[in-house]
């Protein structure tokens, strides 16, 4: 393991090299570009697998780190480092493996796009940044990669930048996550200040290893220092993992190409917030206990719980296939956060892994649907696809069952553990989450029936099955969506966390299965018994719920609320500053600029016009006329030069003596 950790840097490095090479490729080199991208990702996947195997033999929570000095100045020493522990290895393996298959799918999804090479260049860069984030043993490096994945997300959401909605969505995503990043950055600064290092583990001196000490110091609002820092870090995680109230960017991010939604906005980047909270778990828990959790833990629990329920309700009212999935992602990220907040590191991280597989599967499946139906995203204009796209249908069905939490699919096991650990901490949170699970099963059933059942409502173009490079990835991911759940117990053991026996196991599991079944049943009752006949037909739920459904469909008007408050206030403030800028600042700046311009003109006049142009350029003109004049001017100019040289020396000598 100590040897393996020294090679961790290769895992992000290979995609980085691929991105660099791809950036130089001409537009026509499509196959080469995709080939480089896939080769690098495949090789990283092999490396990640090797690292994973290397961690398997160890039963205790063992980690190896490798820190090195980036640069050193005086007493300031900036270090970077890599880490290899079970959580890292599992995450890296997931990212490379899922990423690889998403890349394969993207070769099909993007096959008609003229900027194919640019797309794969961004994807490679994203993979490099994401893997860098995973293997970093240093908060500074983690933060750099964190910002880089944000940048890639921005670039890829706006990949079709000529669409106004995409251009707006990319800005929204960037700015919203940036709000969270301010908190994150403050947290990093405070940690650096308090712990004196940003290395997470460093043989006892790392920031996380000092969590106990930090818990003893006073921070803000009567919290301990550890809690203060943890809260600030969590604000960053809220932005990245789209937790309420910073969740608004994620659904809009679906403007990007679907493989991007699958990779960045379902499986990996949005999970980075959850991963980071897991990574910094020692800070979150420091100073608290199971009976008296820290404020940071409570915050994680309740923000997660609320997001899980809130987003699930919105998902119920969506018609766009990808937006429904996006809200479902928000909701599932809420589940993960909730588990972490309840103290369940293992369930949170395990749900992250299983979710990555089945949510990537669902997104890729929706991509297949979109391609198969000639770029249709409105579920009302679909229907009957089971007949036209059988492979996609079966894979999607597996993904849907996994997400709905039907045993024995992967989602059942991980969600069950999440609910179980929440049950220990708070019955209220558990109740809300169970209701969210019911909604999950319901909206997925609704989606299945709307898309795949009934008859085709989309007009003349008949849908068709997609090519192999698009369905093969979802078929592979389906296998994991079925089988991964059985490794839950093993995963706990693998992470080396020994959690005490939890009570209420059968109750939680029974209820979880029951609400899943109830959701599916209700979905069938409303959407399955009688499928939609026309695209214009109102949604059965709309008929039942009326205004409430509109409310859900408009996402509880959060965007409108932000528009009316924060955005308007910002605009007004911006207007004020614009006027201030024009009147006051510009006046000052212009003054400075004119002074600088004047100085440069004087310098030019003295240095260039007088000495050089006066001598040299005019001299050159003269040269063309007569050689004699050339000689004359030449002598004069050189004298001028040398005069200044001697004058300079004398002035310096005078200064020397004066002092």
């Amino acid at each position: 393991m100590n040897e393996l950790v020294k090679q961790q840097w290769l895992i992000p490095f290979l995609p980085l090299v691929a991105a660099a090479v791809q950036s130089l490729l001409p537009r026509k080199a499509r196959k080469l570009s995709a080939g480089i991208c896939l080769t690098a990702m495949g090789a990283s996947c092999v490396l990640a697998l090797r690292a994973f195997v290397g961690t398997l033999g160890h039963h205790e929570a063992e980690r190896a780190v490798w820190n090195f000095v980036w640069f050193d100045y005086g007493t300031t020493r900036l270090q970077l480092g890599f880490i290899l522990d079970p959580m890292t290895a599992a995450m890296a393996l997931m990212v490379t493996f899922v990423g690889f298959w998403i890349f394969v799918n993207a070769t099909g999804y993007m096959s008609d796009d003229e900027n194919f090479t640019r797309f794969f260049c961004f994807l490679s860069l994203f993979a490099a940044a994401m893997l860098g984030l995973v293997v970093a043993n240093n908060l500074l490096m983690l933060f750099m990669c964190w910002e880089l994945v944000g940048l890639c997300s921005y670039l890829l959401i706006g990949f079709w930048y000529f669409k106004p909605s995409a251009a707006t969505a990319m800005k929204k995503a960037f700015i919203t996550t940036r709000i969270g990043d301010v908190g994150f950055f403050l947290g990093i600064l405070m940690l650096s200040w308090q712990a004196g290092t940003l290395n997470l583990y460093d043989g006892g001196n790392g920031a996380l290893e000092q969590a106990g000490k930090l818990a003893g110091l006073h921070g803000w609002f009567g919290w301990s220092m550890a809690t203060t820092i943890a809260v600030l870090l969590f604000i960053g995680a809220m932005g990245k993992s789209a937790q309420f109230p910073l969740h608004v960017w994620l659904p809009d991010a679906m403007e990007g190409p679907t493989p991007v939604s699958a990779l960045i906005h379902a499986a990996t980047m949005v999970a980075a917030g959850v991963f980071m909270v897991g990574r910094m778990f020692a800070l979150f828990t420091a100073g608290g206990s199971a009976e008296h959790p820290t404020f940071a833990m409570d915050m994680v629990l309740w923000v997660g719980c609320f997001t899980a329920l809130f987003s699930a309700t919105i998902a119920v009212g969506q018609f766009d296939i990808k937006r429904a999935l996006a809200y479902s992602t928000c909701s599932q990220l809420g589940f993960m956060m909730m588990a972490l907040g309840a103290g369940g590191l293992v369930p949170g991280q395990f749900h992250l892994l299983t979710h990555a597989f089945f949510k990537a599967l669902l997104f890729l499946g929706s991509g297949c649907v979109i391609i198969g139906t000639h770029h249709e995203q409105d579920m009302r204009k679909m229907g009957g696809l089971r007949k036209y796209m059988p492979i996609t249908f079966w894979c999607y069905l597996i993904g849907m069952l996994a997400l709905a939490g039907v045993p024995p699919f992967a989602g059942f096991f991980s969600k069950d553990e999440v609910l179980l650990v929440t049950f220990q901490r708070s019955k209220v949170a558990w109740g809300l989450a169970t209701f969210a699970a019911f909604l999950t099963a319901f909206y997925m059933t609704r989606q299945m029936f709307m898309v795949f059942a009934g008859k085709w409502r989309g007009g003349h173009h008949e849908p068709h099955e997609v090519r192999w490079n698009m369905w093969l990835p979802i078929a592979v991911l389906s296998v994991f969506a079925i089988g991964l759940g059985f490794f839950g117990g093993k995963y706990e053991h693998y992470l080396g966390v020994h959690e005490e026996e939890l009570h209420g196991k059968s109750l939680v599991m029974g209820l979880s299965v029951a609400v899943g079944a109830a959701g599916i049943l209700l979905g069938w009752l409303m959407y399955g018994r009688k499928t939609m006949a026309h695209a214009e037909e109102p949604d059965p739920l709309e008929v039942k719920l009326g205004a409430l459904f509109t409310c859900l469909n408009r996402k509880w008007y959060v965007d409108e609320f932000y528009d009316a408050t924060i955005i308007r206030a910002t605009m007004l403030l911006g207007e004020f500053w614009r006027v201030f800028d024009n009147r006051v600042i510009d006046g000052i700046l212009h003054g400075i600029a004119w002074t600088a311009w004047g100085v440069s003109q004087v310098v030019r006049w003295v240095g260039d016009e007088f000495v050089i142009n006066g001598g040299f350029d005019a001299g050159c003109e003269g040269v063309r006329l007569t050689g004699r004049e050339f000689a004359k001017l030449q002598t004069g100019r050189i004298q001028g030069y040398l005069r200044i040289l001697c004058l300079g020396a004398v002035i310096l000598l005078v200064i020397w003596y004066l002092k």
């Binding site: 050193d72 100045y73 600088a596 100085v599 440069s600 030449q634 050189i638 310096l652 200064i655 020397w656």
Partner: protein
């Protein structure tokens, strides 16, 4: 006796092999070159020159293990620092050769490459010598080769003009230098830097020393192009064939700054004085503080109004001499480390920038800013490299130029940190860096934003692209991961 010769051979093996190759290159061009066309001649002679440079780098490998071997009565020294800088200089010369092969240098191909090699020999000697007369001879060898090289565009009046100016300016500066050296010898009775250091230790300032030292600073100030001894630079840079400009701006600067550091830190450590704000005291640090400020001000302001790219880069290099001098003004080992690190970064960056100009200006019809309009479309690869070089010059992270400046400024802040004595220089440096962004970005605007009149692609030869890409990679690596080389330089500087 034979032992002494063996010693000389050991210390000078690189220089000796370069001299042999230079002669060989002359003969080769004379015997087989004349029958071929110019392009083929340049390639043939250039290739032999490159092989010669590679051979000259080999002895450096033997010298790696040696620490501070004084040779010939301490006239020449071999230590890890000289090995590093000789290697850097050989690399810079090789890169210059690579960009020269593609450049029209007239019919005297053999002479051109031989002069390059002679110049390189002078620079290697400068790095190795620790005695004033040897330094003077090496300086002259470098300068005279560069004068000749500057005049190599035989049909261009500008080139002749520039060479003559450069020569006359250089001659006067040499006179100053020699005059100063004679005073110093008279004062201390020594010409070896370490002996001078011992002789001056503990003595107060002396009027004779002031004159001598100032004259030495004039001589070396000419080489590094600091204000007010910079006047030759814009003309010589503009008039010389561009690869030669690159060589003057990089190889010569690296060697000159190295020798400046060595002379001042070893020979005149006691006569530093100070340039603390409000507490000036006479000495070379004070003089350099003033010239640094003047160089930054004049270089940056004058660069703004330039329309010729080479002239613009010339003023920018005057400004950079100002930044580098800040490190010397600090007069600490940290400062010296920063100076040495910066000159390496600076040399790679400027060689690359001048190399791009050399490769493109001949094909774009001229060297004015307008000629580079829309280059990003016409020559995307070289434009990308130019972006890297210019951003590094402007000091944008994570490129080498940023960390170079960071170390320089930090060294100055660290010195007399309680009273912020040198903060004024740092503040000025940062302000002037902001000014420099203006003209650097204008340059890039011509490359990337302004539309070209003629959109035909410009194809550049592979070896030029390779040479420039090496520079760019070097600049990026030194920026992303400066620590190993800085740490190495630091330990070596302390042992100097």
């Amino acid at each position: 006796m034979s032992g002494a010769y063996a010693q000389i051979f050991r210390a000078l093996s690189s220089e000796i092999s370069l001299a042999v190759v230079a002669m060989g290159v002359l003969t080769l061009d004379l015997v087989v070159g004349r029958k071929r066309d110019l392009g083929a001649r340049r390639q043939l002679v250039g290739a032999v020159t490159l092989i010669g440079l590679a051979l000259a780098a080999v002895p450096l490998v033997w010298q790696v293990g040696l620490t501070n071997v004084p040779l010939m009565g301490e006239t020449l020294a071999v230590n890890p620092l000289t090995v590093i800088f000789k290697f850097v200089l050989i690399v810079l010369t090789a890169l210059t050769v690579l960009i020269s092969v593609d450049h029209d240098i007239g019919t005297h191909v053999g002479e051109y490459f031989a002069m390059l090699l002679f110049g390189a020999i002078g620079m290697l000697l400068l790095v190795g010598s620790e005695e004033l007369l040897t330094i003077f001879v090496a300086l002259e060898l470098t300068s005279i080769s560069l004068f000749v090289l500057t005049a190599f565009h035989k049909n261009s009046l500008r080139s002749q003009e520039a060479a003559l100016k450069y020569f006359l300016f250089g001659a006067i500066s040499s006179a100053f230098l020699l005059f100063g050296l004679s005073y110093i010898y008279g004062l201390t009775g020594a010409t070896h830097l370490r002996d001078i250091g011992t002789a001056l230790a503990g003595k107060g300032t002396n009027p004779l020393l002031a004159v001598g030292l100032l004259c030495v600073l004039v001589g070396l100030g000419f080489k590094v192009a600091m204000v007010p001894f910079h006047l030759w630079a814009p003309d010589a840079y503009e008039g010389a064939p561009t690869p030669v400009t690159a060589f003057i701006a990089t190889g010569s600067k690296v060697a000159s700054f190295f020798v400046l550091v060595k002379v001042l830190m070893i020979g005149f450590a006691g006569a530093a004085g100070s340039a603390y704000w409000g507490a000036f005291s006479s000495g070379w640090a004070m003089v350099l503080g003033i010239t640094a400020a003047a160089s930054m001000l004049l270089g940056n302001c004058a660069a703004i109004v330039q329309t010729n790219v080479k002239r613009l880069l010339a003023y920018s290099s005057i400004a950079h001499a100002g930044y580098i001098l800040i490190g010397l003004v600090a007069a600490t080992s940290t400062g010296a480390t920063a100076v040495l690190f910066y000159v390496i970064v600076y040399a790679l960056t400027n060689l690359g920038a001048f190399g791009v100009v050399a490769a493109l200006s001949a094909r774009a019809g001229g060297g004015d800013l307008e000629h580079f309009n829309g280059m990003a479309k016409r020559a995307p690869f070289l434009s990308l490299l130019m972006l890297v070089f210019i951003l590094s010059l402007a000091g944008v992270p994570p490129l080498g130029g940023f960390f170079g400046k960071f170390y320089l400024f930090a060294a100055a802040v660290e010195r007399d940190a309680q009273n912020f004595g040198l903060l004024w220089l740092v503040v000025l440096g940062i302000l002037m860096s902001a000014v420099s962004l203006y003209y650097y970005l204008i340059l890039l605007k011509h490359f990337y934003v302004m539309p070209a009149k003629d959109e035909t692609r410009i194809a550049t030869p592979g070896h030029v692209n390779m040479a420039l890409a090496i520079c760019a990679v070097g600049v990026i690596i030194l920026g992303v991961f400066p620590e190993p080389i800085v740490a190495l330089l630091k330990t070596l500087v302390i042992g100097l």
